[in-house]
């Protein structure tokens, strides 16, 4: 058996609103191995956050619903297991951290409380050992004067420190998989680098699998083993970091990479991708990227492209290659 810890098959998450059905995730599949870090990349609104939330069934349930697909954790389908089992896994085997640490932490409880909460719940430790463990975690993620700061409230920490608190909480029960939804987006550049360092550390020292969601290719370059590029709720291209950065094939991926300002090649203007993000209520026929694609063919607006293996782990969904 290969050491796949998490496998997502044909995930479909729709939002049922008054204006129509938003197909936020429309048939996405990928796998995550032990000790591997996979980056889910794409523009805002491409469905990557929704896909990540679906793993722990945290999608906002009145408008949203996971209508199809499987999410296999060591073979067990998380979408169909009992709530009881789900609660055992959440925070314990699979942990998640979110984008804005200010609003993700509860403002009326101390930081120490919020970290120790999980420890007491899943590891059944009593108060004193839980506090000791909390201290240890806080030191590990690099929070100075942990013993005093444990009794402080979230608003007394800076952005980077708050994110470290969230990471400490997520790590508290030694999870196998860490799902991180844009953890560095709200932070300054220097802090970004520090937080990324923490993630790299986790991967190496603890052999943790990381599902990292971001829209910033620079961040991706710093941490990804594998990359999945999403667009309009669908998979555009997937592969190892080398595959995607060295030999991008999908027009969207190419566009993304070309968007990056490059200090070595002097250009007068940046090259954005023309056009706008498509409506997910009424998506264009065929390939969802086709209205903006320079290399569009007639078939692109008729048939939705299937995923094709280019080589090894390099997948693409584009009529140019099928």
């Amino acid at each position: 058996m290969d050491n796949t810890v998490l496998e997502i098959k044909n995930l479909k998450t729709y939002f049922f609103t008054r204006s129509g059905v938003v197909k936020a995730v429309d048939g996405v599949s990928f796998g995550l191995r032990k000790g591997e870090s996979l980056c889910l990349v794409g523009e805002s609104g491409c469905g990557k956050t929704t896909a990540a939330l679906a793993v722990l069934r945290l999608v906002d349930s009145p408008p949203g619903r996971i209508i199809d697909g499987e999410i296999l954790y060591h073979g067990e389908d998380l979408l169909r297991c009992s709530s009881e089992r789900l609660r055992q896994i959440r925070g314990n085997r699979i942990a998640m951290i979110f984008q804005d640490p200010q609003s993700s932490l509860n403002p009326v409880f101390t930081v120490g409380d919020q970290i120790a909460e999980q420890i007491k719940l899943h590891l059944r430790l009593k108060h004193k050992p839980a506090i000791e463990r909390t201290l240890h975690l806080m030191e590990q993620v690099g929070i100075p004067q942990a013993r005093e700061r444990m009794r402080d409230y979230p608003h007394q920490f800076s952005g980077g420190m708050k994110q470290r608190v969230m990471i400490a909480a997520a790590l508290s029960c030694d999870p196998e998989i860490l799902v991180a939804d844009e953890p560095t987006t709200a932070l300054d550049t220097t802090i970004k680098a520090q937080i990324l360092e923490i993630f790299r550390d986790l991967k190496q020292k603890r052999n943790m699998s990381i599902l990292f969601i971001t829209h910033d290719l620079g961040t991706v370059a710093g941490i990804a083993d594998k990359i999945v590029v999403m667009y309009g709720g669908r998979l555009a291209e997937a592969g190892t970091a080398l595959d995607i950065f060295d030999q991008p094939k999908h027009p969207y991926t190419l566009g993304l990479i070309n968007c990056l300002p490059n200090i070595s090649t002097r250009k007068d203007r940046l090259t954005p991708i023309p056009g706008m993000i498509p409506s997910l209520i009424d998506p264009p026929e065929g390939c969802i990227f086709n209205p903006r694609c320079e290399r569009r063919m007639p078939i692109c607006s008729q048939e939705r492209p299937k995923e094709v293996v280019l080589s090894g782990e390099h997948l693409i969904a584009c009529h140019l290659y099928s």
Binding site: A95, F98, S104, L105, N106, V108, L121
Partner: protein, 325 residues
């Protein structure tokens, strides 16, 4: 640094409260002097009519209230008397107003306390539950009933309850029995209808506040974090959401005091014959015993003031985000 800030804040709030108290007393004074027939004159007339030697009474009253002195002296007299605890003489009950209040405040207190406990606990529970189960039948029912609760005139509710449970069914007496010891079961039973009367309107309001405060917090992101930790739903709601929602709820409940509670208690006491401060004031009005009326109005305002002060200070302890600079 933090400690100093909190003390400074409390001191500032206290000074402010004293100023407001002064303002309240001043307004009362102005209102009294604005009246067409000076209540003092009516009072004088009544007092002298009841005594053997009218001229002596008139002299005493004039000396005490300084009715012949200029206005600002009267005002200072008035304020100092209040502060000293000399609240006047109630001729309709033949005792100092202070003593009258001492005898009767406990009845109002027990009514209001019980009603608030009843309505706050039930109201918050229903409100939170309603918010969690938003858009279900329970939610709509609760909302509908809270509308009705707010709209029922509480004095009519009291009468209806008496009609059904006392007159028709005979379960309760129609009038409150003052002879009962305070901490007895019989007293509790006698207070059931009044508490329901006063509490229903309050409860309806609290249900709405609790519901909206909970709804606001349910949408916040830390709720999602709490779920992601694997916490059971009842902990997510009961600990995380509740602890955040309770802050605005408590504030509103305490600040609401001046509106619904005192007015409602006044009427409830009258309907059920509970000899609390409201009923005493009511009797005093019809006997033109004006020191009593003035004093009770002022007491009402002072209680509101103290409650607001207490709520402010309690709030600073409850919400860790408050900084007192």
């Amino acid at each position: 640094m933090k400690r100093g800030g909190l003390q400074g804040y409390i001191i500032r709030r206290l000074i402010y409260a004293v100023l407001i108290a002064l303002g309240v007393v001043t307004i009362t004074f102005i209102l009294l002097r604005l009246g067409p027939i000076s209540p003092a004159d009516k009072y004088l007339a009544n007092m002298s009519a009841r005594s053997q030697d009218p001229s002596q009474v008139i002299a005493a009253v004039e000396a005490r209230y300084g009715l012949d002195k200029p206005i600002y002296e009267q005002y200072i007299n008035y304020v100092t008397n209040l502060v000293r605890g000399d609240w006047g003489w109630s001729f309709s009950t033949s005792m100092p107003v202070m003593k009258l209040i001492q005898r009767h405040w406990i009845y109002s207190f027990q009514l209001i306390l019980l009603s608030m406990l009843f309505s706050a606990s039930l109201g918050i529970l229903i409100g939170v539950y309603s918010a969690v189960k938003q858009y279900t039948k329970t939610d709509y029912l609760a909302t509908f009933f809270s509308f009705i609760g707010i709209s029922i005139p509480n004095f009519w509710l009291g009468i209806m309850l008496i009609l059904v449970f006392s007159v028709q069914l005979g379960w309760f007496k129609t009038y409150y029995d003052t002879g009962l010891p305070m901490f007895s079961l019989a007293n509790l039973k006698a207070l059931i209808l009044p508490v329901i009367t006063l509490g229903t309107g309050m409860m309806a309001g609290y249900t709405r506040y609790a519901r909206s405060a909970t709804l606001d917090n349910l949408r916040k992101e830390f709720v999602r974090t709490a779920r992601a930790k694997g916490l059971p739903e009842r902990v997510v709601i009961g600990k995380h959401v509740f602890r955040n929602a309770i802050l605005p709820i408590i504030t509103i409940i305490m600040f609401d005091l001046s509106g619904i509670v005192f007015g409602g208690a006044y009427l409830t006491e009258i309907i059920f014959g509970i000899p609390g401060l409201g009923r005493i004031s009511f009797n005093a009005i019809f006997a033109s015993d004006y020191p009593v009326v003035v004093t009770i109005t002022l007491i009402g305002a002072m209680v509101v003031l103290l409650t607001n002060l207490a709520t402010d200070i309690v709030y600073t302890r409850l919400d860790p985000r408050i900084r007192y600079d």
